[in-house]
Assembly symmetry: C2
Homo-oligomer: 264 residues x 2
């Protein structure tokens, strides 16, 4: 690819109201993020693939029906289909905002061709996504329930799709838009001594993981620590920043050092 | 596969209001068809893949933007994305009706991985669709704008998807649910001498094509004649019947000789 490729992951907890029992978007956040992406993308300095999570469009119904643990009855077949349908509804709303802002945001349903084994991708063709990117399109993938050779169905999360596509397409970096502005030594919402970690490299990664692991708020920062390790394993630079604070995603897309950068 | 596989193609002119300038479904038709499919599928005598057309969700915007003739400017990139998004919206409505009726209707977006060359599929992985069918799911594919190696974008119609999937998965037959009840020698709406053709075989196909070709209403029945030839080329049995007359689709799924049968 001629331009560096960025993978932008937008967390389900940012674009939906994750506390809602029913599927519910955050239209104001989606609309603002779409404009930020459009402004950054208009400069034509990079190619882009977006991957978003499910939030309240997935977690509730998956937990209720247990489809991520396998398909054991007809009700679960229906739930598998309905969870997929709900993700397409969410994706239609996200891509609508992007398209209206001027981003050629092409919906791409990974589960129409991916095959998983015990929850991990064993087959997923990314040639079409690559070709779309080369033609100037912005493929928008999203967390989905997918066919699993062992369990029948398992969840192919945006967190698995993003590094997979990044690696296959040789992305320059992954930007994780989440509900906190990067990695902190503890939960910044409850601990006034929480320290922001600006840069993680091979030199300090073990120290950082020890700090996160030893923290009393592992449950809050644990997700981030897990992501740090997953990204370290993929050997792709990444950046974790807030999708809720206006301007951060645009800044990250334009190469500014907002949030936490993981450079390996 | 253990059970015979049926491919059910539902025309865009049946499930949408094709005369509408704006995307508009026919919710009563979709709801009734969903119930007919559910009733037939409940007997568990066959496996099923559904393919539906775009109707007013596609033809207007494709014609207006010319994306089927190639991508020449940024507006067309946006239109490519928007046409795909609209198909996902239509598919969400179709699968919602099916799921509510008890059919595990799994949305499957062909353009997330298909590659076309001058409008014809040159690559499309159907392994996931096969596996979903084997697990009792009913994949629902649909006409989409897709990446084309020559033009950038071209239209992958339901009429191309249906025989492609049928061949790849070894389907027993394709049922075409359209707005007429099979093949007629001329337009039955305007010609009271129009004769219904109940069965087309290798013995009478040339005679039938001659009848259709020589008819003064070629523009009306031409679509059907084209389908007859396309299906003849695929060497798969097919049946053309009305999706608008209640009961016909259920009857066809249950093996009754409604409409026109093409047996080759």
């Amino acid at each position: 690819m001629e331009k560096p490729l960025i993978i932008l992951k937008l967390g389900g907890s940012s674009i939906t109201d994750k506390k809602s029992a029913e599927p519910k978007t955050r239209p104001d956040v989606i609309s603002r993020l779409a404009k930020e992406v459009a402004e950054a993308y208009a400069g034509q300095k990079f190619s882009l693939v977006i991957v978003h999570g499910a939030g309240s469009f997935g977690h509730g119904i998956v937990k209720k029906t247990g489809i991520d643990k396998g398909l054991h009855n007809d009700e679960q077949l229906l739930a598998f289909a309905e969870v997929q349908r709900l993700q397409n509804v969410l994706n239609s709303l996200v891509t609508q905002a992007l398209i209206e802002s001027g981003v050629p945001a092409m919906p791409c349903q990974a589960s129409s061709h991916a095959i998983l084994e015990n929850g991990r991708i064993i087959k997923m063709d990314t040639e079409t996504i690559k070709k779309l990117v080369e033609r100037g399109m912005v493929p928008v993938l999203y967390g989905v329930p997918a066919y699993d050779t062992v369990k029948g169905c398992s969840i192919l999360s945006g967190d698995q799709i993003a590094p997979y596509v990044a690696k296959k397409l040789g992305a320059a970096k992954i930007i994780h838009g989440t509900n906190v502005d990067g990695i902190f030594t503890s939960d910044p919402n409850t601990d006034k001594n929480a320290r922001h970690i600006k840069l993680i490299t091979t030199e300090n990664i073990e120290e950082v993981k020890k700090m996160l692991g030893g923290s009393a708020t592992t449950d809050v920062t644990g997700g981030m620590a897990g992501k740090v390790q997953e990204l370290a394993d993929m050997e792709i630079d990444s950046q974790i920043t807030s999708a809720l604070e206006p301007g951060k995603i645009r800044a990250a897309l334009l190469g500014e050092a907002v949030g936490t950068t993981v450079k390996l």
